[in-house]
């Protein structure tokens, strides 16, 4: 249920603007990989190329390859829609569908493929997904209430439930806690620790402590200045990165002495 991703020499463009340059990295299955780096260095941009969400913005393109278990995601015969079903995504701001109930939100992705899912299967899936995202106990009595009525942290966990309901291989998270209070953040962090049993997880975060707490490996991105492309500076085991990074820039950033 979890797959490895290999990125080779990836350049990412917005139109003519080279936003991220020459990234090569391997993302291990059943582990949490954190991306850190200053704002604008291309963390989100890079993350979004991993499930071809990048393409949604007109005029964008990539060079290089992103392989999942040896299959190039950008190769011929690969359907971006299918890619996104294999590689799920959770966004910075919780975004449950406002017109749907909690239950419908969880099933939103499943219903796209399997319209005629039986009632009991659906109920099982809702329960397992919500349990998986540690939300079941809080919402089991109000599954038919609008998802937008939950608190921010609950909404974010609902989005995670929605993402794992379609049983992806990989889960990408772009600053999933930055809009949440500390308690909700803690809940999400705990959840991530559980989810990595089953999924390959990639998380972007601004919060160094968070990266240190949740991730197994950490990648540090940096940017030389506005208009310059972002680059992967260094990637290593999290403990190594935070105790003895190879690069000076990494150390500066982690210790808050940056800039």
């Amino acid at each position: 249920m979890a797959q490895r991703i290999d990125v080779k020499d990836l350049d990412i463009y917005y139109g003519d603007f080279l936003a991220v340059e020459g990234v090569t990295m391997t993302i291990e299955p059943r582990s949490v990989t954190a991306f850190i780096g200053p704002s604008g260095c291309g963390k989100s941009t890079f993350l979004r190329t991993l499930n071809r969400m990048h393409e949604v913005i007109p005029g964008t393109r990539v060079e290089g390859s992103v392989e999942m278990e040896g299959v190039d995601l950008y190769g011929p015969g690969v359907d971006p829609v299918a890619v996104r079903r294999q590689i799920g995504m959770v966004f910075q701001r919780p975004n449950p569908f406002p017109t749907m109930s909690i239950e419908e939100n969880v099933l939103a992705g499943v219903k796209l493929v399997n319209k005629r899912i039986s009632k009991s299967d659906a109920a099982d899936l809702v329960e397992s997904s919500l349990r998986g995202s540690n939300l079941w106990e809080e919402v089991k009595d109000r599954l038919d209430k609008p998802g937008a009525g939950l608190s921010g942290g609950q909404q974010q966990r609902l989005c995670i439930a929605r993402a794992i309901a379609i049983k992806p291989q990989v889960l990408l998270m772009d600053e999933p806690c930055s809009a949440l209070d500390p308690i909700s953040t803690l809940a999400i962090e705990d959840l991530i620790a559980e989810l990595k049993q089953d999924y390959t997880i990639v998380i972007v975060t601004h919060n160094m402590q968070q990266a240190a707490r949740v991730s197994d490996r950490t990648a540090f991105f940096n940017i030389a200045g506005t208009g310059k492309p972002g680059k992967l500076i260094e990637m290593d085991d999290t403990s190594t990165m935070f105790s003895s990074p190879t690069e000076k820039a990494t150390e500066d950033y982690i210790s808050g002495r940056f800039g």
Binding site: M53, V81, M89, F91, P98, T99, M100, L112, I166
Partner: protein
């Protein structure tokens, strides 16, 4: 800046109360805008009172008397039976137009917001806004001089093949000065209006939700279906209501195109079957004796009430699923 704060709180609080001038302006501004709101109520009350007063002679008099004094007033009927077919015709025209225009408008709006290349979409946006502002008399002119002359074969074809259906009962009238033609022209007229509203709403679909759908592996159509359309539901309804409102009240286009009749008839390909309230007022008002004008205004009152009811119904529909609306 020269006003350094006074050192003690006492002095400061005095200077604070010295700002009574601002309070005065605040008050005046609030009152003026409140009065404006009240003025609208007054205007509307004036219109309503005027309508009722002017319509009263016709409403209060018996049908016999009306029939005697107004040549076109059907004999042995009351004002209710007189206005009935007109309401029927008005609703028929407006709903046909709405049924034709709304799906098309949603399609066009989706095309502009989610399908067309961006450059083209922007140009099309301008075009649609422009078309929404074309005066109805021009639509009337086009309808009668350009559209009606060519549409007879189509109506005839439909009437011959689908004539068993009450709506399409033949024989199709030639020239086609019939409800079907009116409905199409009205639909063409309200299409840009509905499109403009829908497009705005579609464009406002939060990126957040669109991306959520895409990240779940939705195709473009599924994206539209899960994120865009539910979000835009109330917007589509209000756009349609705006269009419906215009179709209900449209005068000139109907006046110029339709062969009127005063029947409860669904036959939209036959001439002389239906008439709308607004067009009837415009047609009969010039020659009408005072009591006739009064009867016409009574029909205007009915139109007013219909539009009001339609508006309220639309609000109710929009409000019912407010919890689930995307507006928060």
């Amino acid at each position: 800046m020269s006003t350094t704060a006074p050192p003690t709180g006492k002095a400061r609080s005095r200077s604070a109360s010295g700002r009574a001038g601002d309070r005065g302006m605040n008050r005046i501004f609030r009152l003026v805008s409140t009065w404006s709101g009240a003025l609208i109520l007054a205007t509307l009350a004036a219109v309503a009172i005027f309508l009722v007063l002017e319509a009263w002679p016709a409403i209060s008099l018996g049908g016999e008397e009306l029939g005697e004094q107004i040549s076109w007033f059907p004999e042995d009927t009351s004002i209710i039976t007189f206005v009935g077919p007109l309401i029927f015709g008005t609703l028929l025209a407006a709903f046909l137009a709405l049924i034709l225009a709304t799906p098309l408008a949603v399609g066009v709006a989706l095309f502009i917001s989610h399908y067309a290349p961006r450059r083209l979409a922007q140009a099309l946006g301008y075009l649609v806004d422009l078309l929404a502002a074309i005066p109805s008399v021009v639509y009337g002119l086009w309808g009668i001089l350009a559209f009606a002359p060519i549409v007879y074969p189509v109506w005839n074809g439909i009437a011959e093949t689908l004539g068993w259906f009450p709506l399409f009962e033949g024989p199709a009238a030639d020239p086609p000065r019939v409800m079907a033609t009116v409905a199409v022209v009205l639909a063409v007229m309200i299409l840009p209006i509905i499109t403009a509203v829908c497009r705005e709403v579609f464009l406002q679909t939060p990126k957040l939700h669109e991306e959520a759908a895409l990240a779940l592996g939705a195709t473009r159509w599924e994206l539209v279906k899960t994120a865009v359309l539910p979000f835009a539901r109330s917007g589509i309804i209000s756009g349609a209501m705006l269009g419906l409102g215009r179709a209900l009240g449209e005068t000139m286009a109907v006046l110029m195109i339709l062969s009127p009749g005063f029947l409860y008839s669904f036959a939209i390909f036959q001439a002389g079957q239906q008439q709308t309230i607004a067009a009837n007022i415009a047609a009969q008002q010039p020659e009408a004796p005072p009591l006739g004008v009064s009867a016409l205004i009574a029909t205007g009152l009915a139109l007013f009430v219909i539009t009001m009811a339609v508006n309220m119904a639309a609000r109710a529909v929009v409000a019912r699923r407010k919890d689930f609306s995307g507006a928060n």
